[in-house]
Symmetry: C2
Subunit: 225 residues, 2 copies
């Protein structure tokens, strides 16, 4: 079985990607990164998802991006948005996907995986620069130059299978694989039990996704939204 | 004064780069990353160097690459080399410079710096894939696509001023700026006081550099080598 490193946040998108990578026949090494984000409940979700979806291994790495700040996700003095915003949202974390992919690349090299999966999506979060296909393509070029494996002539592929899907399409894809979305946490301010607020921008996009997919929303909310 | 993020390990090369960036008129934000490397004494050296060379700020970020392993620098079960090796040395840390540059990129975005300096060198350590000019060029392209600043049309430049210098040339450059190399630690197995072993590959390259530069080696060794 070919090996793949799969970035797994514990949210809806990355869980779908893990299900998809498994369905494509990869032995999956799931990597979660705790970067000081508000929603630590996501990591508990990631552990459950990795187990349920049969990841060969699941690692959690920590890095203190809160010390750098610059995002509503890592700096509590910046308010979370509750409505769509023009331009790049304040939830943008500087260079986050570059950092996540570089850590995945390191682990891929150690476990001899030639494939990395990431659940970026350019449709619903189109404001994030590091969720676009051109960013993924540039990282793939970098990976070939950056690593021992790459200069040894081994192909290294960055898969972003959700990049052009709508949230509804993502949810339908995961549902086809039997993914239980109740395991996933999307809320920017989920509580310790992983219960969602139902009000933040991420909850809103998720809710609209289930509606568009025509699938009952299994999200566990703190109160009925 | 334009701002720059300067990666500062505490070794000879990165200290030279910081001196050089200061001399070019940058307000310098020095970033050290503790990634589980054996030579923690380097970080103490980095603190002193940042202070002496007048960095505007110095941050130390931690990330547990030892948990990933795959290198003699992060895994104590892999022996350190004491002689030149063919191909890529066991001291290669998977994706290290990709990770370091991505963290520097995040901080650069937060402090609104358009310039990042890194002390990679393709001559003495030619076995490391992520020390080559083509790697730096690929990261610069990625940075333009990865960030809010980049897609806003702001130039982001990755400077690797030592990339084509010999160790002797690097040392002469730093010496011209009055850099006190006794502050720097290169040894792969320096002790807690920063005293060098005099035997590892890194000590050997450093010694040869001072000899080539015609400058007295101020390195503090544990015993006379």
């Amino acid at each position: 079985m070919p090996r793949a490193v799969v970035l797994l946040s514990g949210g809806l998108d990355s869980a779908t990607v893990l299900a998809l990578a498994r369905a494509r026949g990869f032995r999956c090494y799931a990597l979660s990164v705790h970067y000081g984000q508000r929603h630590g409940a996501e990591l508990d979700a990631a552990r459950k998802i990795a187990a349920v979806l049969g990841a060969a291994e699941h690692r959690v790495m920590s890095i203190d991006l809160a010390g750098i700040g610059g995002s509503a996700l890592t700096d509590r003095s910046i308010a979370l948005p509750t409505a769509p915003t023009a331009g790049i949202p304040v939830t943008y974390v500087p260079a986050r996907n570059t950092i996540l992919l570089s850590l995945a690349l390191a682990w891929a090299e150690v476990v001899a995986a030639q494939d990395i999966f990431i659940g970026v999506n350019a449709v619903d979060y189109s404001g994030y620069p590091d969720c676009r296909p051109e960013f993924i393509a540039a990282f793939e070029k970098l990976a070939a130059l950056a690593t021992k494996a790459g200069i040894g002539g081994r192909r290294l592929e960055i898969h972003a299978p959700l990049v052009r899907m709508s949230k509804g399409e993502i949810i339908r894809t995961g549902a086809e694989f039997g993914l239980d979305y109740a395991l996933t946490v999307s809320c920017y301010q989920a509580d310790a039990q992983g219960l969602a607020c139902g009000a933040c921008d991420s909850c809103r996009i998720r809710k609209e996704g289930f509606a568009a997919a025509g699938i009952t929303d299994p999200t566990r909310y703190r109160t009925n939204p």
